[in-house]
Structure formats: structure tokens, C-alpha cells
């Protein structure tokens, strides 16, 4: 550096160079990192038309879970993806977005993702990986692919499937194995039996008047559940359906969400479920009559359910969860057959996943072949078998015998650590690909951002084996669709391509129904009933949030309280569990990877290949005590009037049966709202407790993650929580879910006690928090009877190991020592208001959606202007079922609830009485 002023021109020149370097670094932020093709995504140098700071732009793509796609719209703020919404046009989303889907945005930015290629324990380059793979390719070619194996999860991607088919041609002896820890082998085995071939079932839940759920994941996990939950809830709102409701029966060992919503629910041991299904099958004429003779204590209950099902032939549906044994699935099919459900409430289609071979068998064969020395090249694409395979297969021992193993993984997980090569994979939002939904609809996935940490996609990896040493994901996917469009005669490809990307679905790609009819005697030849055992049974179930473990690195999902699902080891005694059954959630206790490593306990070591979903167990006391991090203080309403509940019969007799006289007299004049009075209505009938809204709120409002020790300390930060209340006997309780955002009280108790005016009432009735003014007396939280206020006891935001660009720029992040709470998504309200103001018109009803409302698969949450009597929220508040919490305190909340109405079968009810 020259001394200042000494060489004027030179220092100016240096300054110019520095400025240029700086502008390159800032302007071309996403240009860093390895990037083979700089075609699709360009940083702005000048502000592009239509890109306004503070306004979101949405791009369609899809997320996948177990291979099945759900369409999403990714919200971008200044070209940075910040939030995931459901794609209303996509059949698997209809606008809803699950907790897992929404949490993908956090994984995208996760700095703990694998970022370097590792070969034989050393950080290496893509080039040397290609060299190694290419060398192996030559040898494999000579052998016709003998020794080459692929291990994948479900594959629904048409382009990837085509690529694998091409590989198979080049390497005829190659074999593909698949392993999804939460496979649906039993369901497919049953359909193989019933239809003679594996079929996928697309359900019409909305057409079902009676649903019989056998530990069913119908509204919690089955592919397409968001859509099913929407249809389900639409039939459960009596004041919108003219006083009609569907009726739901549930039998289950572990409480499920549909069990919680059921009108009749019976906890049963696994063996009892099988017996019960036989009983039911006999009662509807789908099985031998002697099945109905068994002396089960629930005979009359089952008989009543059977009669109800029979009365609704063609409008009934039996659904069994993936964990149920083949027999139960067969019985369910038989009953569905007898009820005429096929073609009505169940539409069989060709399987969405490519080659739905039994996963258990496939994996077993792979391990056997490795052990026999027949495998020398193993490519594991986005699967983590070392963590998730049944313990008796000893996959880790087998993997050591494979000379060249490649793990394409998002994290340096257990498998990646034990493989010869770890190739970091791209996140779904970084790469071109495609995937199919539960009904076969294809989404072409477009990248939302440049690859943040390098990474490569499965397509790119396989392309290397197809002699493409500089693979390009865009060309691969586009090439496939060009070919497809030609074959199908789609006409103008550019138009098709652009429209598919824009809408997030490929038009007309839903699978056609298969013509095959089910066998008439599905249940014939089932083995005879074995007497029930009383030994303690351990049930393996997916964790509703971390799933099979693949989302265990996501802080939002780790900190989400699961609802009504799991008995934890160490023990958590959960009402409604079947006797002698212990449920172990899979997916925790990861040994490697990101954030999820060493969190919780691992249930996989108990799971064996022969019995993937349950096992017999003995319990012994360890004597250790462990404080479990739960977020709910007490499971019962404790005499408070928090859940209004009634039956459909009562409602039909008098829709106002729950209505109470509201007493709103006051000595003080009330506020007047000239234009808008924002309000929310939440329908307890529709809420299924899926937690999607909680994650939506967390993502939208920059709610920090606090960590397990802080959860234990009672300092969870969620602005919106879902309370779960039990009623009745703990053996078979009634369950109610109650989402709790801020009530935005008219007489807000928090406002009067703040000494510094940090929480105030605004002209549209919102109860606001002025973070900058808050000194942190916490009196407002004490005074809030709904306990919806959250306090930054530490600097949680700073402690969150999170990329700065992943926060929502529309919402302030809160510093240490200030109070915060639900704002009704004021940033969304104001944005819409500004737009309306510019166009000189009022805000239209439905134009403002809060984040929780937008994500809710069942449309339980409605938000809008209470002043407008025609608004959806005003109409729902006018319903006789509408009520507010803790009315006796005269807080006059703006968030109100619709009472929970159940539709019990009078035959069963009278017997109970």
C-alpha cells in the first residue's frame, strides 16, 4: 500500500479495484462455490422489474417424503427463499403444508449439512471422485455390470427412473435395491393378493360417510394426507354442511390423529385388532361366519360399527395404517370389497413409485449378496441404511466388505461415515428434478437457489456411470421431458415446460385408475386366529416429526411437541394407549449427522427384519430418572370451560344448544373500529393436531429454537401452540386439540399492566408488542390468562445457528430481555393493506391469510375483518357453536373457537349408558 496522498493516482486506482472486488463479492453473492452451469439463476445487478424489497415472490416446486411429492410454493424475499407454502393447485397439498414440508427451508440453509466430498476419510474433489467412479465403470462395463448395486428409497422421479432404465441397459447385471425404513410392504403385499398385482390406493375421503380407521395414518402420514385431511375436515363441520357429519370409528394400539378425531375409539392390542377385523369382516359378510363367534369384549361395539358400515355401502371406507400386518390389510380390503368401496371411496391406481418391490426382501437380498462377495460397487442414493436397517441384518458389517461404496447424502450421516466415498447431495431446492405425488401427478422441481454447499444430485451421480463426466441437472431433466413431450405429442415444448414450472404440476399426469377388480374372496385362506398373548408388546412407529430419522437434524421439528403419538423410553405414560403396549418412536438417537446426533434414544436396534413393526419385550426398571422435555403442563382442563363439546344429535335438535349468554357490559366505553377489526376463528372440529400451523408460525415470524435445556426450563418460544386436552377415563380418553395463538383481547389484561406502554391496542383491534420499548417486567405474561406470551430469557436469536439470509426479513428478530407473542402476522396485514390502499379499494375478504391459516391442511383457522358481516370470519363467529375462552374474565378475545361436535353411533352410546 502506498502512503496516502503520495501517489494520488495509484491509490485511486487501488480504491477502484477494491470497490470492484467488493461489488463482485456482494453483488455476486450466490456466485461463490463450485457451479458447473451458471445459466438459470442470476443475481440482480439492477433491480429487476417486479422485484420489490419486502414483497415475496413465489416459485412452485415440490418437496418429497419417502419419494412422494407434495407441491409447494417457495416464497422469495429479494431472491432468497425464506418460507415454504403449500401449492393450492397441487392435489397433494391443496394449499396446506405439513410441518415437515415447511421445515425443509431450515434444512436448506443448515450449515451442518455435508459440504465436502470425502474419499477414504480424506476431503477430496469431485474430479477425483469422477475419476475413481469412471475407472470402476470401465471394469463394470466389461462384466456387464456384475457387482454394481444401487440402493435407493422409493423412486417416483420419471427422469431418474428413465436414467436407471438406461443404466440397466448398459449394465444388464446391475441390480437396484430399495429401502425405506417406513415402507408400506404390508399394504402392497395385500394388494398383490387382492388385485394380483401391487396397486396404490387413492382415497376419496370426502365421499365417505363412515370411516373405519385401523391405527390409520390417513390424516397424519399416508402419502396425500394433506388432501385427505382437507376432505375429512370438510365433512366434520356441521354448521357448514347443513347439520351432517361423517362418522369415524378407530381401533388402534397407539393413539393416532384420526383416532383423536374419531367418534368412537377403542384402544386394542395388536392381536385384538386382528381379531376385531375378523369379527368385522364376518359381520359385513366378507369372511366366514365363525369369525364372528369369538368372544371378544368389544363384540357389540364391532357389531354396531359393522351395521353402520353396511348401511353406508359405497359410502364407507376402511383404512389400515402401514404398520398393520398383511392380514389386517387383507381383511381391510375384504371389508372394503364387501362395502363396495373400490371404485367409490377407493380408487386403485398403478403404483406411483417405480417397481414397488418389497423393501424388506430387497434389502435382505442386498445384504446376502454382499456377504457372498457378489457386490463390489454400491451406490447409496439419499438413504441411510446403517442407521435404519433392522439390527439382525448387520448392514454395517456388510458395508465393510464392499470395496467401493458411495453414499450420496445431505449430511455426513452414519452410512456416509462408513462408506468409501461421501458425496454431499443437493437439497431439493437446489437442483432440477421431478417427482410424483400420491395420485401420480408429476411436479418438475426447479431450483430455488444456487447450491449453497456444492453438492450433487442423484441424477448427476448416475450420469457419470452413463459416461457423462460433466453432468448438468438442468439438461438431464429438461432432456427427459423434451423426449416425453415428443412421445406424448404435447405440442409446443417451451409452453408446456414453462407452464409446468409455473403451476408446479404437469398437466394430466395423474395416474389413471387400474381396471383390475379385487378378488371377491380376499379373506379366504387366512390363517386361523391365534389366542391373544398378554406379553408386553413393543410397537415401532414413525415419529410424526422427525419421521424415520431423516429430519432429525431439523431444529424446528426437534423442538415441536408431538401430539398424542408416542410413549417415550424413558417412559411417558400416555392416556389412550392400548394395554401392554409400548410405542417406540423411530428416528431419534442418531449417531452422526447434524443437529440430531445424540438426541433421544434409538429404537432401531430392537427392530428386526422379520417383524418390522412390533416385537415382544420384557421391561426392567433401570432406576434412572430423566426429566422429559414436554411443553404441556397439564393434560386436563381442570374444571375450566376451555373445550365446548357436544354431539351431532344435540346439534340437530337445537343448533344453539351450547350457546351461552354473553355478558359484555362495562363501565368503560369500548373502542370503536371504523374500518377493520381483525379477528380469528378456529374450528376445533377441523383441527387434527398436526402441528403444521406451529411450524408455519415459527418460519414466518422468526421464532427462535431454544434447545432442550431451555424447553426443560419452561421457555419454549412458539407463538402458537396446540394444547391437547384429555377427558374421561385415561384408558380411552376423549382427545381435543386446541390451537392457542394470541387472543388479541378487547380488554387485554397485558396492556394495562405494562408500565412503559410496550404492549398497546391499535386502531384495528390488534394487541401489539413494541419490542424496542419493552423493558422486560414480564407482568404482561403473568397477567395473560391464556399464557401466549413468550420472553427472551437469553439471546435466543443470536444463539440460533442459522444463516442470516434464512430469516424472514419482514419480521423483526427479537433481542434478549423483551417479550414477544403472536401478532396475527401483522406484516402480512400491512402488506395487503398497503396494496389495497394503492389501488384505492378496501382489503377483500380472504386476501390476508395468517401463516398458520395458510398452512392448515383442514382450514381450521379463519382470519379476517370482523367488521364486515359477510366475511368468512364474521360468519363463523356468528355461528351458535362459536365461543371464547375464559369468558368469565371479560377479556373479550378476538380469537374464538367453534365447539367440538362428535357424531357418535346411538347404538353404541345407548349401550355405554
Amino acid at each position: 500500500m502506498s502512503a496516502p496522498g503520495r501517489n494520488y493516482w495509484r491509490s485511486l486506482e487501488e480504491l477502484a479495484l477494491q470497490l470492484m472486488a467488493a461489488s463482485m463479492a456482494l453483488g455476486g453473492l450466490s456466485a461463490c462455490g463450485p457451479e458447473p452451469n451458471p445459466r438459470q439463476l442470476l443475481p440482480y445487478v439492477e433491480q429487476a422489474p417486479g422485484i420489490v424489497p419486502g414483497r415475496s415472490r413465489y416459485y412452485a416446486t415440490a418437496t418429497t417424503q419417502d419419494g412422494y411429492a407434495t407441491g409447494v410454493l417457495v416464497a422469495h424475499q429479494m431472491a432468497r427463499p425464506v418460507k415454504v407454502e403449500g401449492n393450492p393447485d397441487h392435489p397433494a397439498s391443496l394449499g396446506g403444508a405439513s410441518a415437515i414440508m415447511q421445515a425443509t427451508i431450515l434444512t436448506l440453509y443448515d450449515p451442518r449439512r455435508a459440504q465436502s466430498i470425502v474419499g477414504n476419510g480424506q476431503i477430496d474433489t469431485w474430479e477425483s471422485f469422477i475419476t475413481a467412479l469412471y475407472e470402476r465403470r470401465d471394469r463394470l462395463l466389461a462384466r456387464g455390470g456384475d457387482g454394481l448395486r444401487l440402493l435407493t428409497g422409493n423412486i417416483t422421479s420419471p427422469s431418474l427412473a428413465a436414467q436407471i432404465a438406461a443404466l440397466q441397459q448398459q449394465f444388464p447385471a446391475m441390480r437396484r435395491h430399495q429401502w425405506e425404513p417406513l415402507h408400506r410392504d404390508n399394504e402392497f403385499a395385500a394388494s398383490q393378493h387382492a388385485f394380483g398385482r401391487p396397486v396404490e390406493r387413492v382415497l376419496d375421503v370426502g365421499a365417505a360417510d363412515v370411516i373405519f380407521a385401523v391405527e390409520s395414518d390417513l390424516i397424519s402420514a399416508v402419502p396425500g394426507w394433506l388432501a385427505y385431511a382437507r376432505q375429512f375436515a370438510a365433512r366434520r363441520r356441521p354448521d357448514e354442511t347443513g347439520g351432517q357429519m361423517s362418522r369415524v370409528y378407530a381401533i388402534e394400539s397407539t393413539p393416532t390423529l384420526i383416532g383423536a378425531k374419531a367418534d368412537h375409539r377403542l384402544p386394542m392390542r395388536p392381536q385384538e385388532i386382528l381379531d376385531g377385523m375378523r369379527h368385522l369382516a364376518a359381520a359385513v359378510g366378507a369372511g366366514p361366519q365363525e369369525w364372528a363367534q369369538s368372544q371378544t369384549k368389544d363384540a357389540s361395539w364391532l357389531a354396531a360399527a359393522a351395521q353402520d358400515l353396511m348401511q353406508h355401502k359405497g359410502r364407507a371406507l376402511v383404512h389400515a395404517g402401514r404398520e398393520q400386518p398383511v392380514e389386517v390389510h387383507l381383511l381391510a380390503d375384504a371389508i372394503n370389497g364387501a362395502l363396495g368401496a373400490f371404485g367409490k371411496t377407493i380408487r386403485p391406481i398403478e403404483p406411483v413409485a417405480v417397481a414397488p418391490i418389497p423393501h424388506q426382501q430387497s434389502l435382505q437380498e442386498l445384504v446376502a449378496d454382499i456377504t457372498a462377495g457378489r457386490v463390489d460397487t454400491l451406490l447409496m442414493l439419499e438413504t441411510n441404511p446403517l442407521y435404519s436397517t433392522p439390527v439382525d441384518l448387520d448392514f454395517s458389517g456388510a458395508l465393510k466388505r464392499v470395496p467401493l461404496s458411495v453414499s450420496l447424502a445431505l449430511y455426513a450421516d452414519e452410512t456416509a461415515e462408513a462408506s468409501t466415498w461421501l458425496v454431499p447431495s443437493t437439497h431439493e431446492y437446489e437442483v432440477w428434478s421431478d417427482a410424483r405425488a400420491f395420485d401420480g401427478t408429476v411436479t418438475i422441481q426447479q431450483p430455488q437457489v444456487r447450491r449453497l454447499y456444492g453438492g450433487h444430485s442423484a441424477q448427476e451421480l448416475l450420469a457419470v456411470l452413463l459416461a457423462d463426466t460433466s453432468p448438468d441437472d438442468y439438461a438431464l431433466v429438461r432432456g427427459y421431458w423434451q423426449q416425453e413431450a415428443q412421445q406424448k405429442g404435447r405440442g409446443n415444448f417451451e409452453a408446456f415446460w414453462n407452464e409446468s414450472l409455473r403451476s408446479g404440476i404437469v398437466n394430466g399426469s395423474a395416474a389413471a385408475p387400474v381396471t383390475a377388480a379385487p378378488k371377491s374372496d380376499i379373506a379366504a385362506g387366512l390363517p386361523p386366529t391365534v389366542p391373544a398373548e398378554t406379553a408386553i408388546t413393543v410397537l415401532f412407529r414413525p415419529d410424526p416429526l422427525v419421521w424415520d430419522g431423516r429430519f432429525a437434524d431439523n431444529a424446528w421439528l426437534l423442538e415441536m411437541p408431538p401430539n398424542g403419538h408416542s410413549v417415550r423410553a424413558p417412559f411417558f405414560v400416555l392416556p389412550g394407549q392400548a394395554p401392554d403396549c409400548i410405542t417406540l418412536p423411530l428416528g431419534f438417537g442418531r449417531r452422526a449427522g447434524g443437529l440430531g446426533a445424540d438426541v433421544g434414544f434409538d429404537a432401531y436396534p430392537l427392530r428386526s427384519i422379520g417383524s418390522p413393526w412390533q416385537t415382544k419385550a420384557a421391561l426392567s426398571k433401570t432406576g434412572d430418572m430423566l426429566r422429559l422435555a414436554t411443553t404441556q403442563g397439564h393434560d386436563r382442563v381442570a374444571g375450566r370451560d376451555l373445550i365446548h363439546e357436544g354431539t351431532l344429535a344435540e346439534y340437530q335438535k337445537n343448533p344453539r344448544f351450547l350457546e351461552q349468554q354473553r355478558n359484555e357490559e362495562s363501565l368503560y366505553p369500548s373502542y370503536s373500529y371504523l374500518r377493520y377489526a381483525w379477528a380469528m376463528a378456529i374450528d376445533l372440529n377441523s383441527c387434527i393436531g398436526c402441528q403444521a400451523c406451529v411450524v408455519a408460525c415459527q418460519a414466518e415470524n422468526n421464532v427462535p429454537v431454544v434447545g432442550k435445556d431451555q424447553v426443560l426450563a419452561g421457555r419454549v418460544m412458539h407463538w402458537l401452540r396446540i394444547d391437547r386436552y384429555y377427558s374421561g377415563s385415561p384408558d380411552n380418553p376423549g382427545i381435543a386439540f386446541e390451537p392457542m395463538p394470541c387472543m388479541h383481547c378487547e380488554n387485554a389484561p397485558c396492556e394495562v399492566v405494562c408500565p412503559v406502554h410496550a404492549t398497546v391496542h391499535d386502531h384495528e383491534g390488534l394487541n401489539l408488542m413494541v419490542y424496542n420499548r419493552c423493558v422486560g417486567t414480564r407482568f404482561c405474561s403473568n397477567n395473560c390468562p391464556y399464557k401466549v406470551r413468550r420472553f427472551n430469557f437469553f439471546d435466543y436469536t443470536l444463539k440460533n445457528d442459522r444463516q442470516a439470509e434464512s430469516w424472514n426479513p419482514e419480521v423483526s428478530v427479537r433481542g434478549r430481555g423483551v417479550m414477544e407473542k403472536c401478532t396475527y402476522c401483522i406484516q402480512r396485514i400491512r402488506t395487503t393493506q398497503v396494496d389495497a390502499h394503492r389501488e384505492d379499494r378496501p382489503v377483500r375478504d380472504g386476501q390476508i391469510q395468517t401463516a398458520c391459516q395458510q398452512s392448515c391442511p383442514t382450514q381450521a383457522i379463519i382470519f379476517g375483518n370482523r367488521n364486515d358481516p359477510s366475511s368468512a370470519v364474521a360468519r363463523r363467529k356468528a355461528s351458535p357453536l362459536d365461543y371464547v375462552l375464559l369468558e368469565e374474565l371479560n377479556t373479550r378475545p378476538r380469537t374464538s373457537y367453534s365447539a367440538l361436535i362428535r357424531n357418535p353411533n346411538p347404538a353404541i352410546e345407548s349401550e355405554k349408558a
Partner: protein, 452 residues
């Protein structure tokens, strides 16, 4: 012991004490060049405890309020319980000093200085608590109504604001009251001092007091007016602290009984601490002639009265939730007396109500050891009561899904120990450098011959 020899019959001042010996004796404790050994030990321990507070506060400021055990729903913890506790102790000092000045009680003359010293020291400990408790301590001054360009003012509907103003006035007034009462004594010490530097020091503090008749006339009227202000003020300051709770919507708090309830607590706990400190000063400084069994007996009786008043509040505390048609209040109360925090409830009933009934016996009132122990029990019991009012009610409020528990952390306890250290350090310092008995007032008693 002769039962007829009632402690109330003891002389107010032992016959041997003369005007001269009084002045010399009290001044001597201040002017002697070396503090006694017990003072150094006491002050050393106090200072060590005070250093705990320094460390705990530094840790708190660096890391945030999360180092304490507070959570949601129990957003107020030790700091608020201790604030109420300390302010009650401080108020007790004022009650002895101001209220009983107005009633012309003779026993007050020899003990009011101890009570006022205690009041100032305890007020310091009380004053820091609500500030430490804030999430953003640096901005506590936003509670003060100062003009600013943003035109933002405090929220005058908040009980916290009333409390802030009340506490501020109370502390300022207490300092003035203390100093005014001290003036003639400072002059006496100045006159007794032999060294130039001490003469200067106390001379400046004495503000030129010469003891002229006019001085005395003005002084007496000012002091009387101050007492007349302080007496209602002490009732109001503690009542407003009670409104912090009564004004809240929380179960167990929303009750009109809190203002008197808290005042009664101030009477009993203040008296208890005055008794303990009086016993310490009496023996430490050899003031047996000036502070006699008569004083201890009188204070014991008032403490008993305080205990009965508090017992009355306890009855109403239980009656409210039972009588009111509020399941939440009832649940919270039942949980307080039978639930997680039941030991604290029954301990405070025992220490504050049951054991003090021993004070009905004259034999107990004349035993310094028993008085000291009962008083110490009351101090602990009152701390438990503050804990019991703040925490269990928050832990079991309206929303069962958000019921919680409160686990105090090491830093909570360190802050408690540290605040005691702050109190004792201040008290020991004032004890060393200021006269601990009001010389002028005791002179009056001797002069008027009201010693018996």
C-alpha cells in the same frame, strides 16, 4: 424468676445513665479509633456476601435473566418475592420510627435510630431487586416520566408504575427523614470528637447545628411533619406493592385484601428485624443501660399484634378462593397448601403465626434468646410467604396446559445471599460511623424524668 416481675415494669432507662454519660457513651462508639473485633467479623462476612451479589449481578448482566429460574408461566421469581420481603423489612423500620413517634411511645426513642438504619439498608436491597429483575435492566429509567423527543410517557394504569413512583418517593423521603433525625446527634458527636478530621467530618454533616432554641423549635416542627408524612406513606408504599398483585388477573393475586395483608406483613417482619438488630447493638455496644428489657418487651408485644393481624390475613387468603366461584382460584390455593409448594405454606404459617403466639408469655418477651429466635423465624417465614404469594399462584393459573414449575438456580440463591450481604454491609458501616441511639431523644426522656 418472679412472675410478678413483668418486663413491662423494667425501667425505660437504667437509673445510672445521666445526660453526660449518655452523650459520651453513644459518641464513643462512633469516635473510638478501633472498631471492636466482633464488628470486623460481622462486617467481613457481610462484605463477602455483598461480593456474591456483585458477581451474581455481573453474571446476570452478561448472560441475561435466563440465568435465573424464571420461566413462562412463572415469569416472576425470587427477585420479586425478595423485593416484597425487603420493602416490608424497610417499612417495618419506618413504622417503628414514624408511627410510634406520633403515638409518643417512650420505647421508641432508644430504638428508632436502629430501626431507621435498618430501613435505609433494607430499602437499598429492596430497590435493586426490581431493576435486576427486568429483562433489559439498562432501560429501567423508562418508568420515569421524563420529557423526550418521542413523546412517550409511562403507562400510568400499570401498578408497576405506581409502585415505581411510590418506592422512589419512599426512599428519598426515608433518607431525608433519617438525616433530619440525625442532625442534633451529629452535632453532639462533633462536639465530643477530639481529632480535627473527625470534628470536620461530623461538623460538616451537622450543618452548623448549634442547639439554639430556635433550632430546636424549627427542628421539632419539621420532624413532626416528616413523621406525619412518613406514617401514611409507609402504609401506602406497602399497599401499592400489594396492588402489584391485586391489580393482576392472576389466580390468587386478584384480591382486594393485598394492601392491608402486605402492611401487616411489614409490621411483623419489620419489628422482627428491629428486635434482632437491637439485641445485637445492645450487646455489641454495651447499651444495656439505654436499651432495656422494657424496649424489648414493647416490641415483642407489637410483633405479637403483627402476627395476629397477619393471621387474620391468612384466614382471608384461604376464605377468598373457597368462597369465590372460581375453580381456578381454588385450584391454585389448594395447590399452594397441598401441592408442590405445600411445605413453604405450612412453614410460613408455623413461623409467622403459630410460634409467635409464645409472645403472650412475659417470660418469653424478657428472654433475649427466645425473642431473637422467634424474630429470626419470622424473617424466614416472611420470605417464604413472599415466595408463596408470587410463585405457586403463577405456576397454577388459568391455563392448565401451561401450568409449570419453578426451579430456582444457583444464581437465584446467590442473589438472595448477596442482597442480605448488601443490607448487612450498609448496616455495619452506619453502625460504625453514626450514633446508633438517638442521643437527643433519650436526653429528653432523662430530662423529663420519664425513665420509669
Amino acid at each position: 424468676m418472679n412472675l410478678i416481675d413483668l418486663p413491662g415494669d423494667a425501667p425505660v432507662i437504667e437509673p445510672g445513665v445521666t445526660l453526660r454519660s449518655l452523650s459520651e457513651e453513644v459518641s464513643d462508639r462512633v469516635l473510638r479509633p478501633q472498631a471492636p473485633r466482633w464488628w470486623w467479623i460481622g462486617f467481613g462476612i457481610s462484605l463477602a456476601l455483598f461480593l456474591t451479589l456483585v458477581v451474581a449481578t455481573a453474571w446476570l448482566f452478561v448472560n441475561g435473566i435466563g440465568v435465573w429460574g424464571v420461566d413462562i408461566p412463572v415469569a416472576w421469581g425470587f427477585a420479586i418475592a425478595e423485593y416484597v420481603w425487603w420493602i416490608a423489612l424497610a417499612s417495618g423500620g419506618t413504622i417503628v420510627s414514624a408511627l410510634f413517634y406520633l403515638t409518643r411511645s417512650p420505647w421508641r426513642s432508644a430504638t428508632n435510630r436502629i430501626a431507621e438504619t435498618m430501613m435505609l439498608s433494607a430499602a437499598a436491597s429492596a430497590g435493586i431487586m426490581p431493576i435486576m429483575h427486568l429483562g433489559r435492566q439498562g432501560f429501567f429509567y423508562w418508568l420515569f416520566p421524563y420529557p423526550n423527543v418521542m413523546d412517550v410517557w409511562p403507562q400510568v394504569r400499570s401498578p408497576l408504575w405506581w409502585d415505581f413512583i411510590c418506592l422512589l418517593c419512599y426512599i428519598l423521603m426515608s433518607i431525608m427523614f433519617y438525616y433530619t433525625g440525625l442532625l442534633p446527634d451529629l452535632a453532639t458527636v462533633r462536639d465530643q470528637a477530639q481529632h480535627r478530621r473527625k470534628q470536620m467530618f461530623y461538623g460538616i454533616l451537622a450543618l452548623g447545628w448549634r442547639g439554639s432554641a430556635r433550632h430546636w423549635r424549627n427542628y421539632q416542627s419539621v420532624y413532626f411533619i416528616m413523621c406525619a408524612i412518613m406514617a401514611p406513606m409507609v402504609i401506602s408504599v406497602h399497599s401499592v406493592v400489594g396492588l402489584d398483585f391485586a391489580g393482576g388477573l392472576t389466580t390468587g393475586w386478584h384480591s382486594t385484601q393485598f394492601p392491608p395483608y402486605f402492611f401487616f406483613g411489614a409490621v411483623i417482619s419489620g419489628l422482627a428485624l428491629v428486635i434482632m438488630l437491637t439485641i445485637v447493638v445492645r450487646h455489641g455496644y454495651g447499651f444495656q443501660g439505654i436499651i432495656t428489657a422494657y424496649h424489648l418487651n414493647a416490641m415483642g408485644k407489637i410483633m405479637l399484634t403483627g402476627s395476629l393481624m397477619l393471621g387474620y390475613s391468612y384466614v382471608w387468603e384461604a376464605w377468598g378462593p373457597i368462597y369465590a366461584n372460581s375453580i381456578a382460584d381454588r385450584t391454585a390455593f389448594l395447590d399452594t397448601i397441598f401441592g408442590t409448594y405445600a411445605p413453604t405454606y405450612w412453614a410460613r404459617v408455623t413461623l409467622n403465626i403459630i410460634i409467635p403466639q409464645l409472645l403472650w408469655l412475659p417470660i418469653v418477651r424478657r428472654s433475649e434468646i427466645l425473642l431473637f429466635l422467634i424474630s429470626a423465624g419470622i424473617i424466614v417465614g416472611m420470605w417464604l410467604e413472599r415466595f408463596d404469594i408470587v410463585i405457586p399462584n403463577l405456576a397454577r393459573d388459568w391455563m392448565p396446559s401451561y401450568w409449570g414449575v419453578y426451579y430456582p438456580t444457583l444464581w437465584d440463591w446467590a442473589t438472595l445471599a448477596g442482597s442480605i450481604g448488601l443490607f448487612l454491609s450498609l448496616f455495619f458501616l452506619m453502625m460504625r460511623f453514626l450514633p446508633m441511639v438517638s442521643i437527643s431523644e433519650v436526653r429528653e426522656i432523662i430530662a423529663k424524668g420519664e425513665t420509669k
